[in-house]
């Protein structure tokens, strides 16, 4: 029996779950038929009115994908995925642009409300006209990826005045074809790996960011991802290009509706940083992890990679991963430019039956390149978490340095944490440092906290937040607060 059908049946019997942000919006959907073949891809491409070259690129990726097999080296197990048992395209039915919020599908607004998006921002999201000057007060630009189609993009004006392009990738294909064609697949090639190839073949949307020479993006860019349609895999594709001396901070956050089926998510994120450019990419990931028995959660197979093409370019990945049933994710940096810098700050929390195999790759190609890896792994319940990190010093990477710190925190004694560092050094002058620790929250610590009046959950929250401090402080302010709450919520019921 395919995994989806099996879990659907089992989960339906379980009824209410404790997942806090489990809600599902009922908006009329426009589906592609189930199944994956060249016709599906042609349909997607046609719906999006894509140019010939992109269809060809997709088809080439699909043909490559057909010859590939799912990777099995990660320390995760799950029932086989039936790729034919899913829809690969779903778009909210198009309506003419609304004049006011009253005209907007109330279901959609309710979803935004549950996500905590303020009303005036909601108006911007659905494209309602806003009086002059209104948008200037808002600190964050949100490009809501509501299911596969970006429903709306905000702050276009402020951004475009600064010369920044921030739009759904399908729009970028239409409006900035040369840029997209030049960079799409230049960091993560279409045939890079099984999931990346699948994504290249069927991606339906995602964000596109271009920051021109010398421009500091005037606001943090943020995208809310929602997985919303039953049985629709999500294949987002994000492309961020930052030119010489420019910089951007990009936030990606998501909570998912309660699901009764396993859902595959295979996103690709490509970052390109030129000379003296800086990209900060922050993620708070809270997809439905499945119930206490591990049923029904989301499978998250992501390829994220950044290329520091120019000298002194800097790419910084920060992630707080609390959700998904299975996480397979290795945000990486290719450090080509001399003196370029790669950073990876990660907190991965697993509870109940969650499985995470995550880490990073730092490929040092240029001279004096530097990378820092701080990975914090927290395992509770019967979960299993693996840090897998590769540091590779290429022959020309003279004077390159890496520092890696991997800390694991175990809560209870039925969970597991593993650290798998791969180190390849082909340059004698390169320096690699690796530190790893494993600790447990001790009974002494718990008792001490409780004697001071803290509940077990408060105590765990305090200790866990302390454990993750070095990573959390890398997050933009509003994200850090959300992440702290999330950590506590995802560990509820893990002690005692």
């Amino acid at each position: 029996m395919p995994a989806v059908t099996e879990t659907r049946e089992q989960v339906e019997k379980l009824g209410q779950s404790s997942y806090k942000w489990g809600f599902e919006t009922d908006i009329e959907m426009d589906f592609a038929p189930k199944g994956l073949n060249e016709d599906t891809i042609r349909l997607i491409s046609a719906r999006k009115e894509e140019p010939e070259w992109l269809l060809d690129w997709r088809l080439a990726a699909f043909r490559a994908w057909q010859t590939m097999t799912e990777p099995t080296w990660a320390k995760v197990t799950y029932p086989p995925i039936d790729y034919q048992d899913a829809h690969y395209y779903a778009a909210p039915k198009k309506k003419p642009g609304p004049k006011s919020l009253e005209e907007v599908d109330p279901e959609l607004l309710r979803t935004y409300e549950k996500l905590g998006i303020p009303l005036h921002e909601q108006a911007l999201l659905v494209g309602v006209e806003v009086p002059e000057g209104e948008e200037a007060r808002l600190p964050v630009a949100v490009d809501a990826v509501f299911d596969s189609v970006s429903v709306a993009t905000t702050f276009r004006k402020t951004l475009s005045e600064a010369g920044v392009i921030f739009c759904p990738i399908s729009e970028a294909v239409r409006d900035h074809p040369d840029l997209v064609r030049k960079y799409l697949g230049s960091v993560v090639p279409a045939g890079d790996n099984f999931y990346a190839a699948l994504n290249a073949a069927v991606f339906t949307d995602g964000s596109f960011v271009f920051v021109p020479k010398g421009v500091r993006c005037p606001m943090e860019l943020s995208t809310y991802f929602r997985i919303n349609a039953r049985n629709t895999g999500q294949f987002e594709r994000t492309l961020i290009i930052v030119e010489d001396g420019a910089s951007v901070s990009y936030l990606e956050g998501c909570t998912a509706p309660m699901r009764d089926e396993n859902q595959l998510h295979a996103a690709v994120v490509e970052l390109v940083a030129m000379e003296d450019a800086a990209i900060k990419y922050s993620t708070v990931q809270n997809w439905y992890p499945g119930d206490e028995n591990g049923l029904g959660g989301i499978y998250n197979f992501v390829t994220k990679r950044g290329a520091c093409r120019g000298a002194r370019a800097k790419i910084s990945w920060t992630q707080v991963e609390t959700g998904s049933a299975i996480t397979w994710k290795y945000p990486s940096c290719i450090l080509q430019g001399e003196g370029s810098v790669g950073e990876f700050y990660s907190v991965a929390v697993t509870n109940n039956h969650q499985q995470a195999d995550t880490g990073t790759k730092m490929i040092h190609i240029g001279r004096n390149t530097r990378s820092t890896i701080i990975a914090k792994t927290i395992s509770a319940g019967q979960s299993d978490s693996t840090y897998r990190g590769l540091v590779r010093m290429m022959p020309k990477a003279s004077g390159a340095r890496n520092f890696t710190q991997c800390d694991s925190l175990l809560i209870g004694d039925r969970c597991g944490a593993h650290t798998v560092p791969y180190i390849e050094n082909r340059n004698m002058s390169a320096r690699i440092e690796h530190e790893a620790t494993t600790s447990k929250i001790s009974e002494d610590q718990m008792f001490y906290c409780r004697q001071r009046g803290l509940s077990e959950e408060d105590a765990v929250g305090l200790i866990v937040n302390g454990f993750c401090k070095d990573v959390l402080r890398e997050l933009p302010m509003e994200f850090a607060v959300e992440a702290q709450k999330l950590l506590q919520i995802s560990l509820e019921g893990s002690v005692g």
């Binding site: 600790s439 906290c449 004697q451 009046g453 408060d458 305090l462 200790i463």
Partner: protein, 281 residues
């Protein structure tokens, strides 16, 4: 010293009022009866407390003295609710409630505070943040309003000043890298902020220099009121000199074998525990 006598007089008045008005509860803040507790030592239960009887009225300071390993810390852990110890017999009432039926955090909220013999390190947890979380958890449980950042800062500044402590300790992680004396002072700071009804101080005076010892004693004396009692576990006469305890209890082999006035401590100082051990046998 006059202050202390004043307070003592107040307490006596209180007790008189309580007794004449027939409120029996007032005469026993804590009542331990026939308490037996054991610990699992490699699979076999090992009895450590073998019938402890003890009563502490409100407003009094009592001391427990006794040789190493007689069960003093064990008693404090059992009172605070440590799960490793199994209570096999006996009962404990605290402000009229069944203490043994309460969770450790409920006991804390009810006003029981334990200054640990070996305070625990919490890596990564900021001391001020910990203290504020604890104070607010307890206030919430007591139905009081929580302190905001400003209110907390004010209160904690006042407390550190009172204890002649530097604010630096607040910026560090809970007990991490603290010297022995700093850890003890941190316990006293927590005690001050949490405003307990009963503070158990397990050798809080050990390893302290003379000045620190005076500060700790000051910390306890500042709290002295008809609503505050302390159970001080100590090996040293000096702290008792500062505190002027109402009663001294001698513990040996898991039992209170003798109780008396402050003169008992002086006797121990001179004679040691030999005669008490004989009594316990």
């Amino acid at each position: 010293m006059t202050v202390v006598t004043d307070i003592k007089r107040k307490q006596d008045l209180c007790r008189d009022v309580a007794e004449t008005s027939g409120v029996k509860k007032m005469s026993e803040l804590l009542k331990i009866s026939g308490l037996h507790a054991s610990i699992d030592a490699d699979g076999t239960p090992k009895e450590i407390l073998r019938g402890v009887d003890l009563v502490i009225p409100p407003g009094e300071v009592h001391a427990i003295m006794g040789p190493n390993g007689c069960g003093k810390s064990t008693l404090s852990y059992v009172l605070a609710g440590r799960e490793e110890y199994e209570v096999t017999a006996g009962s404990v009432s605290f402000i009229g409630r069944d203490l043994l039926a309460m969770e450790p955090e409920e006991r804390a909220a009810a006003g029981l505070f334990l200054a640990f013999q070996s305070p625990v390190e919490l890596p990564g947890v900021n001391n001020a943040n910990f203290l504020r979380t604890a104070v607010n958890a307890v206030r919430r449980a007591r139905g009081e309003t929580e302190l905001d950042a400003v209110g907390f800062l004010k209160a904690v500044r006042a407390a550190t000043k009172n204890l002649s402590m530097s604010d630096d300790m607040l910026k560090r992680n809970v007990n991490v890298g603290f010297s022995g004396g700093e850890k003890k002072r941190n316990e006293v700071l927590q005690m001050t902020m949490l405003q307990p009804k009963l503070a158990i101080l397990d050798e809080t005076d050990s390893g302290l220099d003379v000045d620190a010892l005076r500060i700790v004693a000051e910390g306890v004396r500042n709290l002295r009121s008809p609503d505050f009692s302390a159970l001080v576990i100590t090996h040293h006469q000096r702290l008792l000199d500062y505190l002027g305890p109402d009663r001294i209890h001698v513990m040996a082999k898991g039992r209170i074998v003798r109780s008396g006035g402050p003169e008992l401590a002086k006797q121990i100082d001179v004679e040691g525990y030999a005669s008490f051990l004989a009594e316990a046998a």
